[in-house]
């Protein structure tokens, strides 16, 4: 670096000084800054000087400027304006300029920048340079940042350099080839034979790079693997033998072992070659046994080799003797005091389970100890391993251990731990009581970490265990006294008290193991009130509490006055959801005492199998207006978490499943489960769902249409569903609930006069009812189909209150227009028509499918028919 005084002199002095400042001085100035603002100021000044130098095309300080920019870049300031300067430096002739230029290129650019393409030509020239160090610089840059285009452009140069005499160039070319084949795997075959010839070298650097290249070739090409297996296995084994038996070599020695890096790379390539090939694996047997038994394990380098060796033994088709050796090494690792060694042992044991789970089981106690380690990485590994080790015989003690630990574990580990414990409990419970007990423990210890589907499942299980309901609600009541801050626990408590409150007070179904418990009716109301008003309670919990209170008010008449007061207070709640509920419930209590008791009856037994299926599906399926599911599962039996196999429910139980995550659809044995959702038939309805949160609360919205309440309940929430749009008409209090449906404007839509493109079908026919579908499509919207449904009454009795409902899979959108009428005269004397618009988002790939149900009354007798339509004409 030199300064030529003749070349300048006119610029202003300060900037000149800035420009001459050495990098060292700049770093010093930056380091001297006391505040971030000061540092920014210094950097800004430097950058300004560099920019003006760049714009003047200053050559003398170009490489100093780039060096400064690299430092500035490292501090996190933008330096893109220096990128072109790097290219200029690379294009200059001298080694020092090129060296800093390539460094700048690697630091300031990444492979996505277009500027990089401009350097391809310079790189090509440098790859052919006579100076080996310049070739080395180019190879290094290419290997570190080349893009796919550059890789294809320059691959022939690199390939040629693999055959260069100089080991420095050879090893760099080999590693550069790795980058090239990672970017463009198609080029792999060109590199195969030069790569194989590298394995015959003596120079360790070349060997290491060559072996690595071969390993990467094996990854991208099965042919390469085959070729190398055939031609190089022997050579590799010899390399490993030589290096492991070599006498002390100071140049490569690490902790008494000659070149552990070479060891490890050979072992890794051997794993690639021996995988799935018994002959090759057997060939490797001796040397692997030697490495596994003779390598010193008191230093990290030795352990690194042993670790790689174990992994190779597990990876290839090794003999059982060799595998025992490997598992024993892991056992030794596991009892090592060094956390690193224990960590890799756990890591390897995960893989070893697939090979020999018995051997891993032997270390269960040690592994369980690792779950309690202070190191998060180890805990996580160990927990995953324990999860894999659980089986029917050890599930109970392991669960106990884990739950005990849950109490004292770190906050940030509780989430993982809880999820794993819950899934063990669900998977391995053989008896319901155990399941409920364990879930209760988890909920009381870590209820805030429990996922929604877990406590939903618990509720379903309790609902299905009539002899344990009393026990459950009492245990929950006790647990609540100590763990009232655990959200999920509180929700389960609230739900169970709402449903089984009288079992709590009346001590119904006491088990022998239970301690006697005296709870008064007002105690239970206390609990619910606490949940409702507790500062930590969220909307869901509070909504659930309101429902539970409503239920209790009919079960415990003495408390109803108090409950009424509580509910009244919430009529003014600022939370819309709570306000709405409070108003609705208040009107139920005040005006509809006659129907209240049937309205708040206990929930029918929740359908366990349907819930499980839904849980399994919920990750993939969204609910559109209505969800269709369980089609394929009808008729097969489902194994439930608590080990009880149950025949699946009739299909379509989920017809109105409106919320995949929050609502437990009451699917009772009685066929008219839909009614409680729609509130159509109040004599048979049970209003308590699990309160869904937010906008999905259609359940309650629907209920609010059905119960004759004041019309000020926001009707717009309803319109999202099934086209019940205009429902604002104030309903007289005494009116039959079903009259509601009369307000639907009759639209009388008749099939259009266009000639139908698709044949009409008989969508449904029974002895009493026939439904015809005709189709119309707009040519510009192929995925939209307008279906005109025509309903005919084949029986001799007139139908009233006819309602048609439809469900479609999630890829279809459904819109039901109002029907022309809800009266259907007997003997096909007259029809109802209704327009259904479906939008098939996967038009052309999946056909339409639909499930339907019709509800109507004959002589005030409720009737229900349902079916599935699979005979849609193709192409809809």
């Amino acid at each position: 670096m030199y300064y030529d005084p003749f070349r300048r002199g006119e610029e202003d002095e300060e900037e000149e000084e800035e420009r001459r400042k050495k990098m060292r001085d700049m770093i010093r100035a930056i380091r001297a800054c006391k505040t971030a603002a000061e540092e920014r100021a210094v950097v800004r000044k430097e950058c300004a000087a560099i920019r003006s130098a760049i714009s003047e095309n200053d050559q003398d300080y170009r490489h100093r400027n780039i060096a400064k920019l690299m430092f500035i870049h490292m501090l996190g300031y933008p330096t893109h304006f220096g990128q072109m300067e790097c290219l200029k430096l690379i294009a200059s002739a001298g080694f020092p300029e090129k060296r800093i230029g390539y460094l700048g290129l690697m630091l300031l650019l990444d492979e996505r920048q277009e500027v990089l393409m401009l350097v391809t030509n310079s790189l090509k020239q440098d790859l052919n340079h006579t100076n080996q160090y310049i070739v080395g610089l180019a190879l290094c840059a290419l290997g570190n940042i080349c893009s796919a285009e550059m890789a294809s452009d320059l691959a022939p140069e690199v390939e040629r350099l693999l055959l260069n005499k100089d080991p420095n160039i050879k090893k760099k070319a080999a590693l550069c080839s790795i980058r090239i084949i990672r970017k463009v795997p198609d080029l792999a075959e060109n590199f195969l034979s030069p790569a194989a010839s590298l394995l015959k070298e003596k120079h360790h650097g070349v060997l290491i790079a060559g072996i690595q290249l071969c390993t990467d070739l094996c990854k991208v090409s099965a042919d390469a693997n085959k070729h190398l297996r055939k031609n190089c296995t022997e050579g590799l084994i010899r390399i490993l033998k030589d290096v492991s038996n070599s006498s002390y070599a100071p140049e490569y020695d690490i902790a008494g072992i000659t070149d552990p890096f070479l060891h490890i790379r050979v072992l890794r390539l051997m794993r690639m070659l021996g995988q799935g090939d018994a002959d090759t694996s057997e060939y490797m047997n001796d040397i692997l046994a030697q490495i596994a038994s003779k390598t010193e394990s008191n230093k990290n380098a030795g352990n690194a080799i042993l670790y790689e060796c174990v992994e190779t033994i597990m990876g290839i088709e090794a003999t059982s003797g060799l595998r025992v050796l490997a598992i024993n090494i892991l056992g030794r690792f596991l009892s090592n005091r060094d956390n690193n060694i224990r960590y890799v042992a756990l890591n390897m044991l995960m893989k070893a389970i697939a090979v020999d789970s018995q051997a891993v089981q032997r270390h269960r106690t040690t592994i369980l100890e690792c779950v309690k380690d202070s190191d998060a990485s180890i805990r996580k590994r160990a927990l995953e391993l324990v999860f894999l080790l659980v089986n029917d015989t050890n599930a109970k003690p392991l669960t106990k251990e884990l739950i005990d630990y849950l109490e004292v574990s770190d906050q940030d580990f509780k989430g993982d731990l809880t999820a794993k414990i819950c899934s063990i409990i669900e998977k391995f419970s053989q008896e319901k009581k155990w399941y409920i007990d364990q879930m209760l423990k988890v909920l009381s210890l870590a209820g805030s970490y429990v996922k929604d589907d877990v406590w939903h499942a618990l509720i379903v299980a309790i609902s299905n265990a009539p002899d344990l309901q009393g026990y459950s609600v009492r245990s929950l009541y006790k647990a609540f006294q100590t763990s009232f801050e655990q959200v999920s626990l509180v929700r389960v408590v609230v739900w169970c008290i709402g449903e089984y409150g009288e079992m709590l007070v009346g001590n119904v179904g006491v088990l022998e193991v239970e301690e006697p418990l005296t709870v008064t009716e007002s105690d239970t109301v206390d609990v619910l009130e606490a949940c409702l008003t507790g500062h930590s309670a969220d909307i869901t919990t509070r909504s659930m509490s309101l429902i539970a209170l409503l239920k209790l008010s009919s079960r415990f008449p003495p408390t109803s006055e108090r409950i009424k007061e509580i509910i009244t207070v919430h009529k003014g709640s600022i939370v819309l959801e709570l306000q709405q509920r409070a108003i609705e419930f208040n009107s139920i209590i005040q005006r509809h005492d006659n129907i209240k008791s049937s309205l708040v009856e206990r929930m029918p037994v929740l359908d366990e199998s349907a819930y499980m299926v839904k849980k399994a599906n919920s990750s993939q399926e969204n609910i559109v207006a209505v969800k269709s599911s369980q089609m394929s599962l009808a008729g097969t039996s489902v194994t439930l978490p608590n080990g009880v196999a149950k025949p699946p429910a009739a299909p379509l139980v989920d017809l109105l499943d409106l919320s995949s995550d929050d609502t437990l659809v009451p699917t009772s044995t009685s066929k008219d489960f839909l009614h409680d959702l729609l509130g159509i038939d109040l004599t048979n309805s049970s209003s308590s769902g699990i309160a869904p949160s937010g906008g999905t609360d259609i359940l309650m919205d629907l209920l609010s249409i059905g119960t004759p309440v004041q019309s000020d309940i926001s009707p717009e929430t309803v319109s999202s569903n099934q086209g019940f749009a205009p429902t604002t008409k104030p309903t007289p209090t005494t009116v039959q609930v079903l009259d509601l449906l009369d307000v639907l404007p009759s639209n009388g839509s008749v099939a259009g006069d266009q000639s139908p493109l698709y044949p009409s079908i008989t969508a449904f026919q029974s002895s009493t009812l026939k439904i015809m579908f005709s189709f119309k499509k707009h040519p510009e919207k192929p995925q939209v189909t307008e279906i005109h449904a025509t309903f005919m009454n084949l029986s001799s009795d007139a139908y009233t209150d006819f309602v048609f409902q439809a469900a479609v899979p999630k890829f279809i959108q459904l819109h039901l227009d109002p029907a022309s009428s809800n009266h259907l005269l007997a003997n096909s004397n007259g029809t109802i028509t209704q327009t259904v618009t479906v939008t098939n988002s996967q038009h052309g790939q999946k056909p339409l499918a639909m499930r339907i149900r019709m509800v109507y009354k004959v002589d005030n007798q409720e009737k229900l028919e349902q079916g599935q339509i699979n005979n849609f004409p193709p192409g809809l």
Binding site: Y133, G143, N144, I264, I378
Partner: protein
């Protein structure tokens, strides 16, 4: 493969970054911030490995500096510890008992050394001696070029001086060229 190498000081300052996989500038900043938070917070007795975004980060502390390398989940963590130590030993030999300040003021040299140890996220050379020899050879190339440049500039200066003296006389003297 090694996806990136980071050197972070105890105070969370970045001393060296080398990216072998593609990360945009924004991602790089985010990664550094995230990892320095994780690593600096770890106690001394814990393992040297962090599981992070499906990768593993192997780190090792030397005095005030943390050397971190991010690798694939199925790579050999113990070997990476050796590679880190390999790098540190070579730095130590080059600078003569290296300290953080050496790496601040001569960060480019640290990069040169790293480039002789790793390419494309893979180990290049297991012999410290060979790395030292290659670096020394390249340093001497730079020195030679510098000397040549300064001798050329001296020659020009002398030439200018020799030819100018009769004409420019004092002015040249004033401007400090001789």
């Amino acid at each position: 493969m090694i996806h990136f190498v980071l050197l972070i000081s105890r105070q969370g300052k970045v001393r060296l970054t080398k990216w072998y996989s593609t990360y945009s500038q924004k991602e790089r900043t985010k990664v550094i911030r995230e990892l320095s938070g994780l690593i600096l917070a770890r106690g001394p007795k814990l393992s040297n490995f962090i599981e992070w975004r499906g990768y593993k980060v192997v780190y090792r502390r030397y005095a005030s500096l943390y050397f971190c390398m991010c690798i694939d989940a199925d790579d050999n963590e113990l070997e990476i510890l050796e590679i880190i130590h390999h790098f540190v030993e070579i730095l130590d030999r080059y600078f003569g008992s290296v300290c953080e300040l050496d790496l601040i003021f001569n960060f480019h040299k640290a990069y040169y050394i790293l480039d002789e140890i790793l390419i494309a996220g893979e180990l290049q050379e297991s012999s410290k001696k060979t790395v030292a020899r290659l670096i020394a050879a390249q340093d001497s190339l730079v020195e030679a070029a510098k000397e040549q440049a300064s001798s050329v500039s001296n020659m020009i200066a002398q030439c200018v001086a020799a030819h100018c003296r009769p004409l420019l006389d004092n002015r040249v003297e004033e401007r400090g060229c001789s």
